[in-house]
Symmetry: C2
Subunit: 264 residues, 2 copies
Amino acid sequence: MTVTVQTVIERLTAGAERLSSTVDTLKYGDPGTEVRGIAVSFMPTYRVIEQAVRMGANLLITHEGLFYSHVDHDETVKNDPVYQEKVRLVRESGIAIYRFHDYWHRYQPDGIVDGLVRALGWESYVSKYEPTAAILTIPRMSATEMVSKIKERLGISFIRVAGDISALCTRVALLTGYRGHGSLAIPLFEKEKLDAIIYGEGPEWETPEYVRDAVQQGRQNVLVVLGHAESEEPGMRYLAEKLRAMFPAIPVYFISEKPLFHFL
Amino acid sequence: MTVTVQTVIERLTAGAERLSSTVDTLKYGDPGTEVRGIAVSFMPTYRVIEQAVRMGANLLITHEGLFYSHVDHDETVKNDPVYQEKVRLVRESGIAIYRFHDYWHRYQPDGIVDGLVRALGWESYVSKYEPTAAILTIPRMSATEMVSKIKERLGISFIRVAGDISALCTRVALLTGYRGHGSLAIPLFEKEKLDAIIYGEGPEWETPEYVRDAVQQGRQNVLVVLGHAESEEPGMRYLAEKLRAMFPAIPVYFISEKPLFHFL
């Protein structure tokens, strides 16, 4: 049976409730194209697209957008040579690019969160899945020790940590991507009686400053900031596994990127 | 002559055009109180407030908000014990707290940007001040060398850098605080023919990913992410100097904070 780009999209979006508005659209390519190979990435960088084409994939499924913005708004960059060169690469290669962001986050549990929990080997510690976080009860250890394990499991060289790094942690919330903003993360400390929050990214003046005040008041809280890509790439690697099971006749390649930042 | 809280506010806001809407308001205290001592900080943390009170200041002037949010919206935290303990400290101490954010940014040049340029010792390299950035022409050096000088000047232990760390830099834009978002920062590369942008904070999927693509296309760009506090605290230290000159009879204390993040 022929598998088209549309077949893949329908299969992926069938896993969650229908969304009336979403960034999960086919950015380039034709829904009717027969899929010969699927590449999966967290971020569709220039190098990721080149590599996907080189590997023979004609469909790239990616979590984040192509042009440095959550929404498809090219106005900022449309006259920029970096943007134009990227558009040229995509058009000349003919690769189809589908963004799989909102639907994957709406799987139950959230596919990105689930992928991170699995990458950490923490499946058995999950107490519950909230819509935007996993709440875990981990074996009691210091924040420093916990961070060391996370670095090893995820292959991260540096992690930023706010608050009390000697705090003993057992109640932990795991939030991926840009779920670090205060209105979402701060109330979890009280509501879930947390020792630690681990998140991808968030404004520095919100949750980190809350944790700093808490510690200055004598509390023992800690905040671990993984980085956006570091927190979400495992969920896209997990998606690649799922795709291999869904379409066993089609080669599926996961393309990892190097860390976004050097720490100097 | 008696200097009241209101006198200080009027003197500070006289330096920029009047704003119809602003976060620069007196958060606690009475405008008519006579000022006996002024404390200045970037972030009014719990420890900063305690220290200001201990030093004998009865007016704290601060750049960022008290409760982990840019706007005064306490709903998220009003039942939180960390919030309540902070409110208790402020109320019992009787200290007046005035936020000086929007007006200081609207001085010409922007007081926060100016303070950072001075802290870096880069006054003579400024080509021009744009409303949200300083454009500089620095002596040609590698990004690594530039970052090393910045770390030394500002006393920072770790700095995150995206892009080509071996890039030779001479055209540089300096953006403070949360001016790292793509719509503001990305167009500057082309418009100002920049080698490097140095900013405080911004979303990871915007400007850093633009720089990554640029480098993958063979360009030599670099992005230096100082941290929000690291980029704006020097501007508040500079404000303390200004206040000493404005009110020579009143003690003015600048209260620095430790780095928000540990790098593990």
